[in-house]
Amino acid sequence: MSEGLTSQEGRLEPRPEGAPEPVRLRRTLPKITDRFAAAGAVLIALVLLATILAPWLAPYPVDRLAPVDALLPPSGAHWFGTDKVGRDVLTRVLYGGQTSLTIAVAVLAVSAVVGVTLGVVAGYAGGWVRDVIMRVTDVFLAFPALLLSLALAVVLQPSVTTAIVAIAATWWPWYARLSASVAASISTRAYVDAARCLGVPAPMIVLRHVLPNSLTPVLVQISLDAGGVILTAAALSYLGLGAQEPTAEWGLMVEQGQTLFTTNWWVVTFPGLAILMTAFAFNVLGEGLRNALDPRRVVK
């Protein structure tokens, strides 16, 4: 690495003999060399592609009812079989991914933006500002996530949007807490002091220095959480509080298929596998990112 550097511009003279190797901080966005991260990314890409291309890939229209074809086992015509109103399960799984992944992305985006904003402000400001923000966060954390989601979903009308709001409401405190602790440690770094010594106003220090340097662990956490959000959304739908018929959504499909498990296993199994695979892929990516971004890890 140092060989490469000396030959590039920006360095007038080669480092003198015996000079110490300067401390190298890893870039925030490293090349994804980690095998786990790569595997997860490929899996997620496949899932995304399959759901986005659902209208072209799916063998049947998503809402095609065919009572005559009800509960057909997997075959050449219906790879994943059909459900009790004769809809093609493969088609529903492909379309269902659109709903499930939309929920996951929306929940993570909302909770990350809300959580990180509050967390970074709390971490940098410290004092009473942090106390107020963290106590509010603690209140939200005191409720089990699913329970709070349930309560919210009952109060609001059950729908995909409700599911998003409900899950995001229980998810953001984790990001707030994580980014607050990271931001607090970033705020003691010399470059934050240096910025202060340059007369940079506090909001700009937070935006330009604390925030970008706090993002790495949050990114990792987001990818680790994606699977959890999909599972929670599935659980809400399963309990009848998320997506409603005739929306195709994985959790909902599992819920509807579960009573048929002993007689018509395919109705519940394939959407279940889709949830499992997606959750697994995100976890693998998250785990891989955590390894790849860990500054303590030696660069190979």
Partner: protein
């Protein structure tokens, strides 16, 4: 440039720095020496009004601003733009996610240095955006070249440069912003000997060419003897001796100064 009278910095009951008198004029270099924990760095920070949680009394005038009475906004104007701080660990003082050029451009923008002051040539009013950008670019390149760095360094991230380069970049930033005073907190102690010489060389040249005032905090008496005009020796938060560098270092009157000198290899 700097006038300090009866400065006392306390954390709770503990007095961490007490300086009865400290003056630094333009083009002059004053060094504060003493071991770790003797209150040197605290004294520097108090000049910028950055001693959080401390009780500071006395009078500090920096570039005509009464630091202890000035509002935060006024202080932010002088920080960096008129009084620059060069820190001990040069790379840790640079945000790892920001390119050096971006950092310098933001600092220039923050202090409204589009070429009005500082190292750049005199600008004409009413020039377009493009011309302004060119001007900013000029200031940046001039500043970087003044500390003998290649302008290509502006495209680098902090982890891609060496400690000596980082320290010179910190000085370049001060020049670009048109600082009149440089406060240097152990500017060379994290560097190895040959790189130390480069940084000291740059500081000395700038002082001669641009009339910069330099307040240096160091425990390196060898460095102090080559660059400082006057020396202040601090021990346990108090000034024990002060005077022209040559006199103090040749005939120390306080036993502690003698001890420091004897500790030299």
């Amino acid at each position: 440039m700097i006038e300090v009278r009866d400065l006392q910095v306390r954390y709770g009951e503990r007095v961490v720095a007490s300086v009865p008198e400290l003056d630094v004029r333009a083009g002059e270099c004053v060094a504060i020496v003493g071991e770790s924990g003797s209150g040197k760095s605290t004294t520097l920070l108090s000049l910028l009004g950055l001693t959080e949680g401390a009780h500071v009394s006395g009078s500090i005038r920096v570039c005509g601003v009464e630091v202890l009475q000035a509002p935060e906004r006024r202080l932010r104007e002088i920080r960096g733009a008129r009084v620059a701080l060069v820190m001990q660990s040069p790379q840790a003082a640079l945000s790892p996610t920001t390119r050096l050029g971006t950092l310098m451009r933001r600092a220039l923008k923050l202090h409204g240095r589009g070429g009005e002051q500082g190292a750049g040539p005199e600008p004409e009013r009413g020039t377009g955006r493009k011309a302004r950008q060119g001007k900013v670019r000029r200031i940046m390149v001039d500043a970087v070249e003044a500390v003998m760095l290649d302008p290509g360094i502006l495209r680098r991230y902090p982890h891609e440069i060496s400690g000596g380069q980082a320290q010179r970049f910190a000085i370049a930033l001060a020049i670009a912003l048109g600082a009149e005073v440089i406060l240097a907190d152990e500017p060379t102690s994290a560097l190895d000997v040959t790189v130390q010489a480069e940084v000291v060389g740059v500081l000395r040249r700038l002082r001669a060419e641009r009339g910069l005032a330099l307040l240096l905090v160091s425990h390196d008496l060898a460095l102090v003897s080559t660059i400082a005009d006057r020396v202040l020796v601090m021990k346990d938060g108090a000034v024990v001796e002060g005077g022209p560098a040559a006199e103090v270092l040749a005939e120390p009157s306080h036993p502690y100064t003698r001890e420091l000198l004897e500790a030299l290899p």
